[in-house]
């Protein structure tokens, strides 16, 4: 069995989870234009953009020799719930022998355990639990570092150096075996980042931008022209509405759900029901960002995504009610970097002027 998985933000977490169980792993490459073209070709035209990119990745890893793909399911009534089945069908139709194993939120533990059995190999259940715990710790540790980067990279003279350090840090995380190792890497990572040169402005001079929207296009830089890096390079601190550890806590760990409930509650004024995808969370995060003094919000909506179309339709009202500028960008295979930069730059000009006005 040769196992692979979706690429989202970085491959470390999935890789470690499977590696610690002793799997033979094909690491998926970061999506490129080639990946996207491949996915667009095989996926149905009406499918949402993330489905197409993932399709491309699956086809790429199949070529590299993978016969099994482990992925997590979607949540709620949006199409993500059918992702696994649709991908499986497309692969079957193409005559490719690949098995997709979908881990869904454990509403019902039986299929979850059955899936777990498929990938547990001859590890004891005790070992499986310990690996899961290690992976869980890893997710949180890496996200603490990534959040630090999204903030501090805005204030260095050489943003590129921070990005390079982040690559290095990820490589170190790839080598961990247990929770002690994780703690050691995290400590090393903090020192590595602290050793770079920064030029921190006073807190009222900082520009803070929140990025919201559908999880895949928010987290996967190759689909959004690396918007975090772009904003950091333009001097803005960034925070995303999605980090993998928070996704795990709020979707997969029942006793942690309530910690994230307040974000959803904040959207109650605008959206009463869960319409699937991340629409409610997106709106909740805008309210949260405003309360925490952010200067603006960028909304990423994949082409063909219904839930985010719904949140987009609410943005004008939310923006006006809360007096926070919001820029909504539609993400598809044609989103050229130059066009995106133009909008982002103009948006930042607007924010800076607003800020000056408020101080004056």
């Amino acid at each position: 069995m040769k196992v692979s998985f979706p690429y989202m933000d970085n491959p470390v977490l999935y890789y470690k989870l499977l590696d610690l169980l002793g799997h033979d792993i094909i690491i998926p490459p970061r999506p490129t234009q080639h990946t996207i073209n491949l996915g667009v070709k095989y996926a149905p035209e009406f499918a949402c953009f993330p489905l197409k990119v993932l399709m491309g990745t699956y086809l790429e890893v199949e070529k590299m020799g993978a016969d099994t793909i482990v992925t997590s399911g979607g949540h709620g009534p949006c199409r993500a719930g059918y992702y696994g089945k649709l991908h499986q069908k497309i692969l079957d139709n193409a005559g490719l022998d690949v098995d997709i194993i979908v881990f869904d939120a454990p509403k019902d533990w039986r299929p979850f355990l059955q899936n777990l059995k498929k990938i547990k190999l001859d590890n004891s259940w005790f070992r499986v639990m310990s690996v899961i715990r290690t992976a869980y710790t890893l997710a949180h540790s890496m996200d603490r570092i990534e959040k630090l980067i999204h903030k501090n990279r805005a204030h260095t003279l050489e943003p590129r150096e921070v990005s390079d350090a982040w690559e290095e840090i990820q490589q170190k995380y790839m080598g961990i075996e247990n929770r002690q190792d994780i703690a050691a890497v995290e400590k090393w990572a903090r020192e590595r980042l602290a050793g770079l040169e920064y030029n921190f402005p006073t807190p009222d001079q900082r520009i803070k931008i929140g990025i919201i929207g559908e999880i895949y296009v928010v987290m996967e830089g190759s689909t959004n022209n690396d918007i975090e890096e772009m904003l950091n390079e333009l001097g803005c601190e960034v925070e995303r509405s999605h980090y993998i550890s928070e996704y795990i806590d709020s979707h997969l760990v029942p006793w942690k759900w309530k910690e994230y409930q307040h974000i959803l509650d904040k959207a109650d004024n605008y959206l009463e029901i869960m319409i699937g995808g991340h629409a409610k969370r997106s709106i909740g995060h805008i309210v949260d960002y405003k309360e925490r003094g952010f200067d603006g919000v960028i909304h990423l909506k994949p082409f063909g995504c219904l839930p985010e179309l719904v949140s987009q339709s609410l943005l004008d009202r939310v923006s006006e009610d809360l007096d926070i500028p919001i820029l909504s960008l539609s993400i598809d295979e044609q989103m050229a970097k130059a066009n995106m930069l133009t909008r982002v730059e103009a948006f930042l000009d607007l924010i800076k002027q607003k800020k000056e006005e408020e101080i004056a």
């Binding site: 490129t32 133009t342 730059e345 002027q353």
Partner: protein
């Protein structure tokens, strides 16, 4: 010698160059449609500016805007390189200080800019759908055998309304042909097309936003009286067409250059008019050194590489060099 500020707007269907003096009066204006090579157009434009003004003015600042701004900005040694939304708004606010809404329709893109107290508070931009831009009209004018310049005035001669389904260029075309067969006159059809374009613009960009007067309409298409009338009908209010409506982006960036130079107190970084004699070539190649597979853009002056951009890692941009790569494209 007086100071001159040059503004250059590199759009996808037109290139505009203006020269403003210290009191913001226009000393030079060039509007060039359908340019083949932007670099050549800019070189020629600057050469004629130099010829006309060199005895009276010295260059005190240069600004570049538009979708091709990075590259040209680099070649010219611009003092400021800024996006076209900010540039357009700057020019409009200078002329119409109490403007609240700017409709900008150009040849291949369109914008909506919302302003409050001389500050941009919202904007939307369409770069994908041709149906809300000037190229929609160009296309249909050609089909009808009408010069695009006459298009607008013809529209005003319409006596009946006809609705052309104009969601997208392809639909509009077939609908237009059938309406012609029904016997509607050319002016009526043209008027229908103008209204279809405006409807598309509103559907794409305005999307039910509340808009406030004063309204300004600018961009290449603002010369078209039919479109102006269609917008006024849509908003039920009057729109102002500013002087030099077709080069507002260039004016805006010239104004921003002036502001920048006042603050900076340094001489302009403009490379000088000698560049009009240099031979520039732009090409690109795919870097295969890692999985990112960046399209790296290379600018050569007289056969020597002077700049590279488009690489994610910065290995080319920080050290532009002459290398033997097979070119993917040459322009």
């Amino acid at each position: 010698m007086n100071d001159l500020y040059i503004g250059v707007d590199i759009g996808s269907v037109s290139i505009n160059i203006v020269g403003l003096d210290d009191s913001k009066d226009m000393q030079f204006k060039l509007y060039k449609r359908n340019p083949g090579s932007p670099v050549e157009v800019v070189k020629e434009g600057l050469a004629s500016l130099n010829k006309k003004l060199k005895d009276r003015f010295k260059i005190a600042g240069v600004g570049v805007t538009g979708s091709g701004r990075q590259l040209i900005g680099y070649i010219l040694g611009a003092d400021i390189v800024k996006n076209e939304i900010t540039a357009h708004a700057t020019a409009t606010i200078e002329q119409v200080p109490d403007v609240r809404t700017i409709f900008e329709i150009g040849g291949q893109d369109s914008k909506l800019i919302v302003i409050n107290n001389e500050i941009v508070t919202d904007f939307a931009m369409n770069t994908v759908c041709a149906a809300g831009t000037g190229s929609f009209l160009d296309h249909q004018a050609e089909r009808l055998g009408v010069e695009i310049e006459e298009f607008g005035d013809l529209a005003l001669q319409a006596t009946k309304d006809v609705r052309i389904a104009g969601r997208c260029t392809v639909f509009a075309e077939s609908d237009m042909i059938s309406k012609q067969q029904y016997g509607f006159t050319k002016p009526e059809i043209i008027n229908g097309l103008c209204e279809a374009l405006v409807r598309n613009y509103f559907n794409n960009l305005v999307r039910g936003k509340e808009l406030h007067p004063r309204f300004v309409f600018q961009g290449g298409v603002a010369a078209n009286a039919g479109i102006k009338a269609a917008i006024e009908k849509e908003i039920n209010d009057e729109v102002i067409i500013p002087d030099n409506h077709d080069v507002m982006g260039a004016i805006g960036i010239a104004l921003l250059a002036q502001e920048e130079m006042r603050e900076k107190d340094e001489p302009s970084s403009f490379k000088g008019f000698s560049i009009t004699h240099d031979n520039f070539e732009t090409s690109s190649f795919i870097c295969e050194d890692c999985a990112n597979e960046c399209e790296v853009i290379r600018i050569q002056a007289n056969g020597k590489t002077i700049a590279m951009t488009g690489d994610r890692c910065g290995k080319w941009a920080s050290d532009p060099r002459d290398i033997d790569v097979k070119d993917e494209t040459s322009a």
